[in-house]
Symmetry: C3
Subunit: 153 residues, 3 copies
């Protein structure tokens, strides 16, 4: 149960950082060589190695954030992450696996609000000295993406 | 707190099984004589015994799943369950009651994503030897249903 | 972890009371002098003291509920609250702070279902003798409000 609490807290801090547009904090939720990718459920099921977005290691993530900051001078949208159904399984030693459902809501500047993305987070997490993602795979249910806006999910 | 954890884990495993289209696993979340029904909030409040879908016992649930498999040869939608606000109360002995809010997102094959259903799960659960539903009542907020697609929620 | 459980349970009971239209119970989730306000993320960030709705103390909340009951003789909508990503931090003594993401779904009488509001709950909570809100600030992502329907969120 303590592990469940630690994992859910990591997920919550990650989500709230993104929702608050603190993208610069995003790489710090990963281990130094942590891996991140967004994929579609369809491609994952077919074994197609075509992630929508991927990064290996904090350095690459920091580059990614910088590009986003330069590209999106004006970004009026807001996002709100919702997580649910977090299943945690012990892996080896200090490592756990987590599967969680997510929905991301997008709020446009005019107030229009819609479901932007849904899917599953498939995570490998190390717990100590503090919980970090070794790997986070974001499997989106939809294959339709607003590709101009490749923010981390 | 341990009971809360056990109950939320049961809910999470149930939701992830349905979202992964593992309908054949659905009856196994219930006791042998477990009861399941989907109702509308309106009918529940008026005491009308008109469930949208109901099943008593695993055998009937397995029949139900088989019918669904035969009827829906081609099913392009995906679903994503979100649960929240899970309130657990001890009932008698090994039994607990759980009330939880839910939202189910539907993702069409073209990527269109919408809120498909919302409501409450009203559950009676036995905890040992492993947690199972004795009764799960799905009270939907909306009375409008996509009746052609009577999948379990 | 026990504190996390207590706080999430308070949030869940609050949400389920509102969703069941038990508005008269709403003030009882606050301390006698508890404060409540709904604000927009935009105004909060700019430091504008322009809440959409605010109340100080249970007495004012009860007045507010009574006005709502008199104004909305006929209220066909339903609401469904979803909470997620609950982060709890100890403050001083018996007091904790909680930040949580929320989404509220609205279900119209004809069955149409949409995302009504999203945002964050920023709470100050006292834990004993039983958990109550000393302050609940509802920061909504959207600045567009259905102002005719100023129900508590």
């Amino acid at each position: 149960m303590n592990v469940q609490y630690e994992v859910e807290r990591l997920h919550a801090r990650y989500a709230q950082a993104l929702d608050a547009d603190r993208l610069e904090a995003w790489p710090d939720f990963f281990t130094e060589n942590g891996r991140y990718r967004i994929a579609t459920a369809e491609n994952e099921e077919r074994g197609l190695p075509l992630p929508v977005l991927s990064a290996e290691g904090r350095a690459m993530m920091r580059d990614r954030v910088q590009s986003l900051r330069h590209a999106n001078i004006y970004e009026p949208q807001r996002y709100r992450h919702m997580l649910s159904c977090v299943l945690v399984e012990k892996a080896s030693g200090d490592q756990v696996r987590s599967i969680a459902n997510f929905v991301v809501i997008r709020i446009m500047q005019d107030g229009a609000t819609m479901v932007f993305a849904s899917g599953r987070y498939l995570d490998r997490i190390v717990l100590s000295p503090s919980p970090l993602y070794e790997e986070r795979v974001v499997v989106c249910d939809s294959r339709r993406f607003d590709t101009l806006l490749a923010i981390p999910l």
